[in-house]
């Protein structure tokens, strides 16, 4: 392989190389520093005159004396069954002192798009044991459902509780967790790793760690390595894979940094105009494929800068993912765990995986009714602050009370409390029974007759 010493410019994470032979777009590049150490990069722009290389590590030490080798191929990742149980760096190198991965295959990390014709529809209910997810924002296999959180909120606990409790009732198929950390703190890393070890989850997991003090640009490839691994496990080895990507906000910051270094025209709030497309190339790597046993379910975590859901990172994510679980600071301050605000939360695939034959026939309608009641109660809180409780009608006071109960009994649960979907549904009915029956307009008469505690007691 030919080595060039024709670097003309280094700017941020970018290196400009001249007078090369034809180099392929997106080719993997090795940079050999004067002290013999190596760094890796990728071609972003290639022409007869100049090649622009994005370096995945810091550019410290790179200069005109750095040798540049173009490998002639795009970035590939060695994958194999013995990856389970391994801890790798954000660039895919062993970090646990173990041997290199014995590759059964080397896969392109950009990953081609799943042909929509080949996709199967995700409709297998995953029970997480958390009522605000299972009943009101149901997760199904093959879904991409992120957690929108804020700094200092317990999103990691929620993600871990889901990873620990998630199961498809009545199934014992093999599952795996692929965990990719991007720019998380050492402390957060410890929290995750301790939990994985405590529960024995590590055996079924592949962990990629890019920590806060690791190079930011490396974060561009970390999720791609993780998703390539997940697809391999799911579609070649038949695993049901749960991918946890955290924190997508750090990923987006890295994207912005590269955009700035390339002097691109920035989009909203300085993020690149192509961020939607770029994020889609990650989030869309979830789903199931007809005729394949495995599945890729994505649970990414992102912290909303300033708790602002309209910030480009949550906004563009929400436009791509199949819903979102929103963690809320007010609920957290009230001491409610998990502080999930159901109102802005959503699971778009829920309709496919619930109801008769999946969970229970009253699921959808109970969920709708709980939402409507809670939304009404929350609205009334604003009014009470102005006019006082006494100015409310009896109906309104009922909903106000309902909202309180909803938060305290339905939302609130223990960190190890694993509720079945039936328990969650019955809990929902138990709250609804305090609303006058004729105000349950979202539920058909038939279902009320069958499940409303008033009638159930009679029947029993």
């Amino acid at each position: 392989m030919k080595e060039y010493r024709t670097i003309t410019q280094v700017a941020g994470p970018l290196v400009f190389v001249e007078k090369t032979e034809p180099v392929g777009y997106q080719e993997l590049v090795n940079l050999v520093l004067a002290d013999g150490s190596e760094k890796r990069g990728q071609v972003l722009d290639t022409s007869d005159d100049i090649v622009v290389v994005q370096v995945f590590e810091t550019t410290t030490g790179i200069g005109k004396d750095t040798g540049v080798r173009f490998t002639g191929e795009t970035i590939k990742m060695p994958v194999g069954k013995d990856m389970l149980g391994r801890i790798l760096s954000g660039a895919g190198k062993p970090k646990d002192g173990g041997p290199d991965i014995v590759p059964e295959k080397r896969l392109e990390i950009t990953g081609a798009a799943i042909n929509p014709w080949a996709r199967g529809s995700p409709r297998q209910f995953i029970q997480t044991g958390i009522s605000t997810i299972d009943l009101t924002n149901t997760l199904v296999r093959g879904q991409k459902l992120p957690i929108f959180s804020g700094s200092g909120l317990p999103h990691n606990e929620i993600a871990l509780q889901i990873a620990r409790q998630a199961k498809v009732p009545g199934s014992d198929e093999q599952f795996a967790v692929v965990f990719a950390a991007m720019g998380i703190t050492k402390e957060e890393e410890n929290q995750f790793m301790a939990e994985f070890e405590r529960t024995g989850a590590l055996e079924h997991a592949v962990v990629f760690l890019n920590l806060a003090d690791d190079p930011a640009v490396e974060r561009i490839i970390t999720p791609r390595l993780a998703l390539t691994t997940a697809e391999y496990l799911a579609f070649e080895l038949d695993y049901h894979v749960l991918v946890i990507l955290t924190d997508m906000t750090n990923y987006c910051e890295a994207l912005r940094q590269i955009g700035a270094a390339r002097e691109e025209v920035p989009g909203r709030r300085g993020y690149p105009g192509y961020m939607y497309t770029d994020l889609a190339s990650l989030y869309e790597r979830a789903g199931i494929i007809k005729g394949k046993k495995g599945s890729v379910t994505q649970l990414s975590i992102l912290t909303m800068p300033g708790d602002d859901i309209t910030h480009p990172i949550p906004d563009l994510s929400g436009y791509i993912t199949e819903g979102q679980i929103v963690v809320n600071r007010d609920l957290h301050r009230k001491g409610i765990y998990p502080p999930i605000n159901v109102l802005p939360s959503l699971s778009r695939l829920m309709n496919l995986g619930i109801g008769k034959g999946f969970t229970r026939e009253d699921h959808k309608k109970v969920s709708d009714q709980l939402y409507a009641g809670y939304a009404e109660g929350v609205d009334l809180r604003g009014l009470v602050a102005i006019v006082g409780k006494d100015a409310l009608s009896e109906r309104d006071r009922g909903f106000l009370e309902f909202a309180e109960m909803f938060e305290n009994r339905f939302v609130r649960q223990g960190k190890d409390e694993d509720r079945t979907i039936e328990e969650s549904l019955d809990l929902g009915w138990d709250l609804l029974k305090d609303i006058p029956e004729e105000q349950l307009v979202r539920i058909d008469r038939e279902l009320i007759q069958k499940y409303h505690p008033k009638y159930r007691k009679k029947a029993e």
């Binding site: 996709r119 093959g142 009014l383």
Partner: protein
Amino acid sequence: MEVKRTKGVLKRIAGPVVTAVNLDAHMYDVVKVGDEQLMGEVIKIKGEDIIIQVYEDTSGIKPGEPVENTGLSLSVELGPGLLTSIYDGIQRPLEVLVEKMGNFIERGVTAPGLSHDKKWEFKPVKKAGDMVTPGTIIGEVQETNIVHKIMIPPYCDAGKIKDIKSGSFTIDEIVCTLDNGAEIAMMHKWPVRIPRPVTEKLNPDIPLITGQRILDGLFPVAKGGTAAIPGPFGSGKTVTQQALAKWSDAEIVVYIGCGERGNEMTEVLTEFPELEDPKTGRPLMERTVLIANTSNMPVAAREASVYTGITIAEYFRDMGYDVSLMADSTSRWAEAMREISSRLEEMPGEEGYPAYLAARLSEFYERAGRVNTLNKDFGSVTVIGAVSPPGGDFSEPVTQNTLRIVKCFWALDAKLSQRRHFPAINWLNSYSLYLDTLSQYYDENVSPEWNPLRTWAMEVLQKEAELQEIVQLVGSDALPDEEQVTIEVARMLREIFLQQNAFDPVDTYCDMTKQFDILKAIRFYSDQAYAALKAGVITSQITGLKAKNDLPQIKYVKEYKPEIERIVKTMESEFTKLREAA
């Protein structure tokens, strides 16, 4: 250009945009890029540099690789076989791609839009000696339950039929020859960026019946009209578009998934073959053409997908059909333009979008319309575009430029969707500019009472909004009796008429008669309620009327007539009792 250099070389590759030199080309020529012959299109010419957008991933392509100009424009194949198909943005059938390259979309594979082997039964409707002109229908093919009409292509010259066949043919075989030498097959090609010609554009004065109460009732769109559905993520754009694709009374539906989710297209693919068209009883898929260029498929093909879709829609319009086209989402199309434009280093306009954004949007929506076709039939293309404004802020360029063009605005509202009021269309911000032109249709085809009822419902809802502002300050109990009744009636309009569950097997579609009956029942309650107030009945008895609690259930009942009649009767007798007691 003197020497025709059809083969050039690549000079630069940066993402989906590449530069070639030593090549003669015109704007929008289709070229084959690199050793793998990836499909691309010329989008800029700058001195010696020919700038090309590539419809496939360009990873690994090197400077020095060849580029070949086909000299053709980006075109679609039009003929039997379109219906029930699902294509990517450049009309490659996704089903064929799975056969050729497996579950993932790799590159460098070409596949024609239509099957060139399949034989179709061609029945001529013209005979030798007949005069034909561009657009004349010369024969028919029973494609699904839809009759596919074979037309003289718009670019042909008029002439006399020399010979016309009958029988089983592939789309390439000649079925008709003209005395001017023209040979007509069942398929012809048309460049996607050029609108297909019509005789004349007409005024759209027939509503597209959608089966969605808030749309048909309050903000109707006309057949051949334009509508936009803007809304933040998760507010219901896709569900609404899919409901329209399922239930609107168009004869043909073209659904474009432009830069959106893969699973959503899968959903359409699994659902549509199983759902019945309420008009014909046939599977919905039989009248549908899908274009799926999802968010992770190449952006240049995403840019093209909208043109591919509308050209197919126009083609069916030319046969005399009412076509409706859904584009979900036009914002992703605009973003594709922005992405390509920024790679071209063009001067950015507002928020980085190219300066020609407004022009492209209006050219696209201009291709909608109710027309007199070249064959002198009536046909229409209704265009309904979803818009995905960043942060849900309608002041951004795509929403604003769209608003300037379209005649219906169905504004989705996160406040409504968060409390699961669906469809989350805000009845105060939305509008339809077709109300006047359509009113005659309702008079004649629904009821002379329809237009006044609609006006009444809108007034009540508007009044409620004003009252709510007061309630926010003083609480609802402080309102005068009459206004408390208004609030109750408005609640009924919202909860019974406006809310409609797209996932309920019955409520997902509501015909005009049922819409009318529901509105009338609410109006009945309202009239009786004010009369009762006058007679001295106390408000809580009026708002607490028992029988009206049964009204919401009507939505979930298919044979609702006896039930609604019973409810109205019971309301009446309850009111009579209340008045007598007062």
